[in-house]
Amino acid sequence: MLEKKKALKYLTIFIAIQMLALILIVYLFDPFYQYHEPYFGLKTVLFDRETQVAGSIRTLPYDSVLLGTSMMENCDSSYLDAQFNCQTLKVIKGSGSNTDLLYYLEQAHTQQDLQYVFWGLDWHALTSSTEVTVVSEYSPAYLFTANPLDDFTYHFNKDVLFKKIPLFLAYSFADINTDGHGYDWSDGKEFGAAKAMQDYNKPTEVLPAQDYTADIPLIQENISLIVEEIKSHPDTEYYILFPPYSLMMWDNVYTSGNGDKYFYMLDEIMDALLPLENAKVYYFQADRDIVCNLDNYMDKMHYTPAINQLMLESIASDNLTGYSPYRVTTDNVDEIKQNMLETYEYIITEGIYEYYEK
């Protein structure tokens, strides 16, 4: 038995050694990319968007950004790298509001001179709150600052040590969520009409058209923020993609009485985006071969990686040949809107009944 004074000394030394070891382990593996790119020949693994996006923007090399929600997560960004001769970082926020995505994008602009922004624009982004939610009292502050002094909870964190680092190592060795497949969640997921239909109980009643005038200021504010972002970075080229939701989503829009609101948003966003010189717009929602075939989906909105690839190929082909059937310009915008209206009419009168009883 040691004397108490000596015991205290030993105890202090043991604690100090253990704490230093923890600091070192977390620093070297750094699964949230707070300090550096992976060491020891490990691959860059992106498997947890909530904790990795902020750090990856600060410390990983890139000159372009693939921005969006889970609708864009399964895109193979290495395809974009090859086609556009760039290095793309995926910046994803699950169910992300417009402002959260813009917050991330602004961080990326402060770190790099961005060549391209490939932006999957969801409809709900236009009606989302314009307050940043990713940085809040509920999110760990250390994720969003480069200041090592607030990293205590990163280094002394059981989840980081026992969950994130082992996952990071395992995924790196197994080549999961690496290269262009960061955050890709499609592996092991079931797609097909039967699975997708589990997500939607078609209402038997159709609500009357809802009054959306109260939403207009928010929609306009979100559109202004997007326009302001694009205008304030004239050297960056923006590819804006409207991802194709399934016919179930459009039927849901109809039965909830929100059709007019969606077409209002379509008019407004197109009017705002098309005049911008550094923005190209691609609209996939009117393609009946995609949206009316539920085998492409796992729920109302999420589609197979093949659809992600189709979207990327479409913009790459436009880049290469100057043509994409999905490209929207001031010349064809009315035709595309008309197509969408007809598709919508078709879905609510016929398309949906190929899967659901009348």
């Binding site: 038995m1 040691l2 004397e3 108490k4 004074k5 015991a7 205290l8 030993y10 105890l11 043991f14 604690i15 050694i17 253990q18 704490m19 923890l22 205590f152 909870t153 002394f156 964190n157 059981k158 989840d159 980081v160 040590l161 026992f162 969950k163 082992p166 996952l167 395992a170």
Partner: protein, 491 residues
Amino acid sequence: MLFNSVIFIMVFLPLTLLGFFSLQQLKNPIYAKLFLTGASLFFYGYYNPWYLLLLGGSLLCNHGCSKLFELCKGQKSRRLVLIAGLFVNLGILFYFKYFNFFIDNCNMLLHTDWNIEKIALPLGISFFTFQQISYVVDRYRNDAPYYSLLDYACFITFFPQLIAGPIVLHSEFVPQLAARKNRKPDAEKFFDGFSLFILGLGKKVLLADVLARPVNAAFDDINIIRYYIDFPTGWLIILFYAFELYFDFSGYCDMARGISKMFGFELPINFDSPFKSETITEFWRRWHITLSRFLTTYIYIPLGGNRRGTAIRCRNTLIVFFISGIWHGASWNFIFWGLFHGFGMITENLFPKLRLPWAWLRKVVTFLFFTLSMVLFRSDSLQTAGLYLKRMFTADITPYLSRLGNSLQLPETFAITKLLQLKAPELVEPFNLVVFALLFIISCILIAGPKAEEWLCKKGRTRRGLFLLATIFTWSLISLSQVSTFLYFNF
């Protein structure tokens, strides 16, 4: 502020210790006391500064009573002061803790529809109120001297015991404030305190919080109780809750005592291996000792204790346990929980011949009695408790046992679970059950083993023991990324 938080362990505690001992070096101890009181108030008001008004008001009223006892010499006037002091203390407690309960019961009995906003329960109100009642009563009985406002404030607000006890008597604490030997930092006391704090932290963070997972998973969803709880899972979960409550509260008390020792003060022991008790009477001499002491000194004995025959003794016991029950919370569950223990103790005392022949069996029966009472303690209503008890004794067997291990979801076992999910998914549930069983065995070993301080005396100063202590500290520290509160904060 919570003891089990990074801000407390890494910032508040070191800075307060530093400030306190620096100021203790000055000739006049008033600065150190002022600093300690200020730090305690900061600790208390960290989450809700408005509670400081209540604490301050209560403290000033009771100190005012003490002053009045100094001025009033006649028995009548002293009695009036006592009544006024008790009225203020019990009034505050009634309003903040029991008013909602009172209104709900009035509505139920009188078929009225009085609606009042839910009154938030200020932290530790039951603890500091009881502490002050004891001082006022002792002053009335001339068993306590008059203390200066600063000494009194320092005693009542002393942060290690402010929120969840132990319920310290003035005579145990205030004299220590004046003792000269406490004015210099003492490495030996610091080691005793720090090592006890570490063991308490480990009990809370590494055991109680983990045991809470399957317990909360069951009790937070009435449908799980209704459809899934069966004989084995019902008993296992409630056993886990008994362990959780013990590790949670005794862990808190170890931390409180440890911190006090670091400051050079001794607080009374609140737990003395209660699960080794052979009778319910003994259990209450070992569990929450300072509450039992308060209830005995200020309620049981003034009512006549056990001096006026069996009937009065039984009545007094029931009154004390009724108060103990309602002290734990404003609900019928707690009242019935208290009375259950009261009846248990009365039965034990009335029929001593029922005493079982073997000590180990008596210990097991006492433990099971306590565990069974935990159903009332943990349930959010009498209906839920009834349903749970019914399911505990049902003959149906549901598949919930195999799923119980999943509710643990420990980061420590994450890598193995993930690997099993990929390579041998059929082994995931058995593996989780093994972890569950391990946790149960560890809990049993700890409740049957030596107390924290005994272990520290025997093995705490060997190199291996010190390494273990350091590991518990570091392991607890990295477990604080998800902070939980202490169960006894609600009482």
